[in-house]
């Protein structure tokens, strides 16, 4: 392998190397510094005269005298069964003091697109034990359901609670968690690690940590390493893998940084025009493949800058993912945990995983009815602020009270409270709905009311 010493220009994370032999697009590059240390990078643009290399670490110490070797292949990742229980850096190197990973396979980290024809439709209900997810925004295996949060909200606790409690009722299949942190603080990382150790979850987890002070560019590959590992565990070893990616906002910032260094024409708010395609390359790696045992389910977490759901990061994410769980500052201020606002939240695959044979026949209609009633009650709060409670009709007052009850009993639950779907969540929903007159339950058919409504159940 030939070493070039023809770096002409270094700008931010980019190296411009001249007069090379033909170099492949997206090839892995090793850069040797004067002190012998080696940094890694990837080819972003290749032509006869010039090759542009994006370095995954800081460019500190790289100079025109540094050596550049092109490895002739795309970035590959060594994967193996032993990875379970290990903690790796954002670049895939062990940082838990343990031995190097003995590879059983080396996989391309970009990951090819799953042929839609080879996909199998997600249908297995995952019980997270959180009512606002199970009851009203159900997660199913193979789904990508992000958590839209903001600075200062307990999204990490929610993610951990999901990781701890998630199960498919009645199933005993192999289950693993792949956790990728991008640009989170050491403190946050510690909280995650302690929780993994406390609950013994680390044994069946692979952890990738790119911390706030690690190179930003490394964040570009961290989620790809995590997903390559997840795909290996799922499709080669037949496990059901839950991938948690946090925080995608930091990932997008890194993407913007590279775009700027390449002097690309920026899109909205300075993010590159290809951010949709790039994010899709990550999120679309969730799914189930026909004829393979395992599955990849994704819960990406992102913090909305300025609590703005129309910001390009949550916006593009929402267009790719199958719904979103929105964490609300207002509920958090009221002291409600988990502060999930069900109104803007959505699970697009919910209907595939609920109902007879999955959860319970009344699930969809109970959920719709609660949504409608809570939305109505919530609207009335604005009115009450102006005209006072006394000006409301009796019907309106009932809906107003429903909204409060819904938040206090359905949304609020303990950080270790694991509710079952039937008795824990749906029956609780019926209890709350029974505070409304039966004829107001216009979204539920008579048959189900007579079967599940507490008034009839009691008889």
């Amino acid at each position: 392998m030939k070493e070039y010493r023809t770096i002409n220009r270094i700008a931010g994370p980019l190296l411009f190397v001249e007069k090379t032999e033909p170099i492949g697009y997206e090839e892995l590059v090793n850069i040797t510094l004067a002190d012998g240390s080696v940094k890694r990078g990837q080819v972003l643009d290749t032509s006869d005269e010039l090759v542009v290399v994006q370095v995954f670490e800081t460019t500190t110490g790289i100079g025109r005298d540094s050596g550049v070797r092109f490895t002739g292949e795309a970035i590959k990742m060594p994967v193996g069964r032993e990875m379970l229980g290990r903690i790796l850096s954002g670049g895939g190197k062990p940082i838990d003091g343990g031995p190097e990973i003995v590879p059983e396979k080396r996989l391309d980290i970009t990951g090819a697109a799953i042929n839609p024809y080879a996909r199998s439709s997600p249908a297995d209900f995952i019980q997270t034990g959180i009512s606002t997810i199970d009851g009203t925004n159900t997660l199913v295996r193979g789904q990508k359901l992000p958590i839209f949060s903001a600075a200062g909200l307990p999204h990490n606790n929610i993610a951990l609670q999901i990781a701890r409690q998630a199960k498919v009722p009645g199933s005993t299949e192999d289950f693993a968690v792949v956790f990728a942190a991008m640009g989170i603080t050491k403190e946050e990382a510690n909280a995650f690690m302690q929780d993994f150790e406390r609950t013994g979850a680390l044994e069946r987890a692979v952890v990738f940590l790119n911390l706030a002070d690690d190179p930003a560019v490394e964040r570009i590959i961290t989620p790809r390493l995590a997903l390559t590992t997840a795909e290996y565990l799922a499709y080669d070893l037949g496990m059901h893998v839950l991938v948690i990616l946090t925080d995608m906002t930091n990932y997008c910032e890194a993407l913007r940084q590279i775009g700027a260094a390449r002097e690309e024409v920026p899109g909205r708010r300075g993010y590159p025009g290809y951010m949709y395609t790039d994010l899709a390359g990550i999120y679309e790696r969730a799914g189930i493949i026909k004829g393979k045992k395992g599955s990849v389910t994704q819960i990406p977490i992102l913090t909305m800058p300025g609590d703005d759901i129309t910001h390009p990061i949550p916006d593009l994410t929402g267009y790719i993912t199958e719904g979103q769980i929105v964490v609300s500052r207002e509920l958090h201020r009221k002291g409600i945990y988990p502060p999930i606002n069900v109104l803007p939240s959505l699970s697009r695959l919910m209907n595939l995983g609920i109902g007879k044979g999955h959860t319970r026949e009344d699930h969809k209609k109970v959920s719709d009815q609660m949504y409608a009633a809570y939305a109505e009650g919530n609207d009335l709060r604005g009115l009450v602020a102006i005209v006072g409670k006394d000006a409301l009709s009796e019907r309106d007052r009932m809906f107003l009270e429903f909204a409060d009850l819904f938040e206090q009993r359905f949304v609020r639950q303990g950080i270790d409270e694991d509710r079952t779907i039937g008795e824990g969540t749906l029956d609780l929903g019926w209890d709350l709905l029974s505070t409304l007159p039966v004829e107001q339950l216009s979204r539920i058919d008579r048959e189900l009311i007579e079967k599940y409504h507490p008034k009839f159940r009691a008889k």
């Binding site: 033909p22 697009y25 006869d48 970009t110 024809y117 080879a118 390359g281 026909k290």
Partner: protein, 586 residues
């Protein structure tokens, strides 16, 4: 423009690779020629000629390509294969059957694999309709093949000359075997190719007069689209664009449906794939899949193929239109298509227009929608392509370029509203912002086919909804008790229109499709409640009593019942007797 088959294959060399856009030199290429790139012969298309250099967009992943690898020009434009075998297919953006790709390369989309758009080995039973000695012109029907339950008509390709038929044979043929020869020696096969960026010719474009019935109450009832018309569904994420598009693909009374999943979710395409074969066409009773062609280019598949997918879809739609069919085409989502243009444009370092989109965005969008229409085909039959495009405006902001440029062209606007979907009002189409410019031209159809009372009834419902919006503003300030009595009734009537008529459950076996007659009966029932309420109020009954009429609370239940008439009659009778009691006690 003709597909130029004679041009020689010329050899070129790759010079630069940066993402999906590459540069080659030494090709004697024309714009939009299809080229084979690199040792693996990846498929690409010339999108810019700059001196000796050709800029090429590659339809497959370019990782690992090196400068110096060969590039060859096929001399052909990007074209689709048209002939028996199209129906029930699922293609990627450049008409490679995904099913065949799974067989050839497994569960993941690898690259450098080509696959013919329609099967070559399958034999079809061709029945000649034209006779020896007939003079046939381009577009004329030569014969037919029973493909699924759809009859596939074989035509003289519009880009070839006609003449007098020398031989024509019925029998079992593959798509490449000659079925007909002309006296001048021209041979016709059942398959021909057509360049996707060129609209197929027609005799005449006509003004649409018949609605595309979709079984969705808010669409058929309030904002209808005509057969051959254009509609846009813009909405923020989670407002139900895809569900609405899928409902249209399932239930619209078109004979052929082309569904383009352009840059959308893989799991959603899978859902369509598993669901459609199980659903029955309400008219024929056959699986819906038999009349459907799917094009799936998910968001993580190559961006250049996403750009092409929309053209692939509309060309296939035009082909079936030319056979005399009513075709509806759903594109979900045109914003992803526009973004693909933006991405490629920015790789070309073109001067960006608004929000980074290329300056030719408006032109491309209007060219696309203009390929819709009700036409007289070259063979003199009537056919149509209706185009329904989803738009995904960033942040739900309708002032962005894709939405605005689309609205300038389309005639129907179904505005999705996140507020409605949050309270689970589905379909979440905002009745105040939406419009249809076909109301006048379609009016006579509703008069004769539904009832002369329908058009006034529709206007009445729109008035009530409009009035409600005004009243709600007052209610927000002073509470509903402060409203005059008649207006309290109006609010209640509007609530019924919203909850009974507009809300429709796509997941309920019965409510998912609502025929026009039922829509009319439902609206008439609401009107009847309204009329009796105002009469009772005038006779001195208090609004509280009118609003608490019990029978009307059962109205939503008829949505879920197939043979609803007896139930509806019962509700109307009960309602009447309640009103009589109220009036007599007043």
């Amino acid at each position: 423009m003709e597909v130029n088959e004679e041009q020689k294959t010329t050899a070129g060399v790759l010079k630069r690779i940066a993402g999906p856009v590459v540069t080659a030199v030494g090709l004697n290429a024309h714009m939009y020629d299809v080229v084979k790139v690199g040792n693996e012969e990846l498929m690409g298309e010339v999108i810019k000629v700059d001196g000796d250099a050709n800029i090429i967009q590659v339809y497959e992943n370019t990782t690992g390509l090196r400068p110096g690898e060969p590039v060859s020009n096929t001399g052909l434009s990007l074209a689709v294969e048209l002939g028996p075998g199209l129906l029930t297919s699922i293609y990627d953006g450049i008409q490679r059957p995904l099913e065949v790709l799974v067989e050839k390369m497994g569960s993941f989309i690898e690259r450098g694999v080509s696959a013919p758009g329609i099967p070559r080995d399958k034999k079809w039973e061709f029945k000649a309709l034209a006779k020896v000695g007939d003079d046939v012109s381009p577009g004329a029907i030569l014969g037919e093949v029973q493909e699924t339950n759809i009859v596939h008509r074989i035509m003289v390709p519009p880009n070839m000359k006609g003449g007098r038929i020398a031989t024509i044979t019925s029998g079992s043929f593959t798509v490449e075997e000659t079925i007909c020869t002309l006296e001048d020696g021209t041979e016709f096969q059942m398959m021909h190719r057509w360049p996707v960026r060129v609209p197929r010719p027609v005799m005449e474009k006509k003004n649409p007069t018949i609605p595309l019935i979709t079984g969705q109450r808010i669409l058929d009832g309030l904002f209808p689209i005509a057969k051959g018309g254009t509609a846009a569904i813009p909405g923020p994420f989670g407002s139900g664009k895809t569900v609405t598009q899928q409902q249209l693909a399932k239930w619209s009374d078109a004979e052929i449906v082309v569904y383009i999943g352009c840059g959308e979710r893989g799991n959603e395409m899978t859902e369509v794939l598993t669901e459609f074969p199980e659903l029955e066409d309400p008219k024929s009773g056959k699986p819906l899949m038999e009349r459907t062609i799917l094009i799936a280019n998910t968001s993580n598949m190559p961006v250049a193929a996403r750009e092409a997918s929309v053209y692939t879809g509309i060309t296939i739609a035009e082909y079936f239109r030319d056979m005399g069919y009513d075709v509806s085409l759903m594109a979900d989502s045109t914003s992803r298509w526009a973004e693909a243009m933006r991405e490629i444009s920015s790789r070309l370092e073109e001067m960006p227009g608004e929000e980074g989109y290329p300056a030719y965005l408006a032109a491309r969008l209007s060219e696309f929608y203009e390929r819709a229409g009700l036409v007289t085909t070259l063979a003199g039959a009537s056919g149509s392509v209706s185009v329904i495009g989803a738009v995904s405006p960033p942040g739900g902001d309708f002032s962005e370029p894709v939405t605005q440029n689309t609205l300038r062209i389309v005639k129907v606007f179904w505005a999705l509203d996140a507020k409605l979907s949050q309270r689970r009002h589905f379909p979440a189409i905002n009745w105040l912002n939406s419009y249809s410019l076909y109301l006048d031209t379609l009016g006579p159809w509703y008069d004769t086919e539904v009832s002369p009372e329908w058009n006034p009834l529709r206007s009445w419902a729109m008035e009530v909804l409009q009035k409600e919006a005004e009243l709600q503003e007052i209610v927000q300030l002073v509470g509903s008790d402060a409203l005059p009595e008649t207006e309290q009734i109006t609010i209640e009537v509007a609530r019924l229109i919203r909850e009974v008529f507009l809300q429709q459950n796509a997941y309920d076996a019965v409510d998912t499709f609502c025929e026009m007659k039922k829509q009319y009966d439902m609206m008439k029932a609401i009107r009847s409640y309204a009329d009796q309420s105002y009469a009772a109020q005038a006779a001195g009954v208090s609004p509280t009593q009118i609003i608490s009429i019990k029978a009307k609370n059962d109205l939503p239940q008829i949505k879920f019942v197939k043979d609803y008439e007896p139930m509806l009659d019962g509700i109307l009778k009960a309602m009447e007797s309640e009103f009589t009691t109220l009036r007599s006690s007043a």
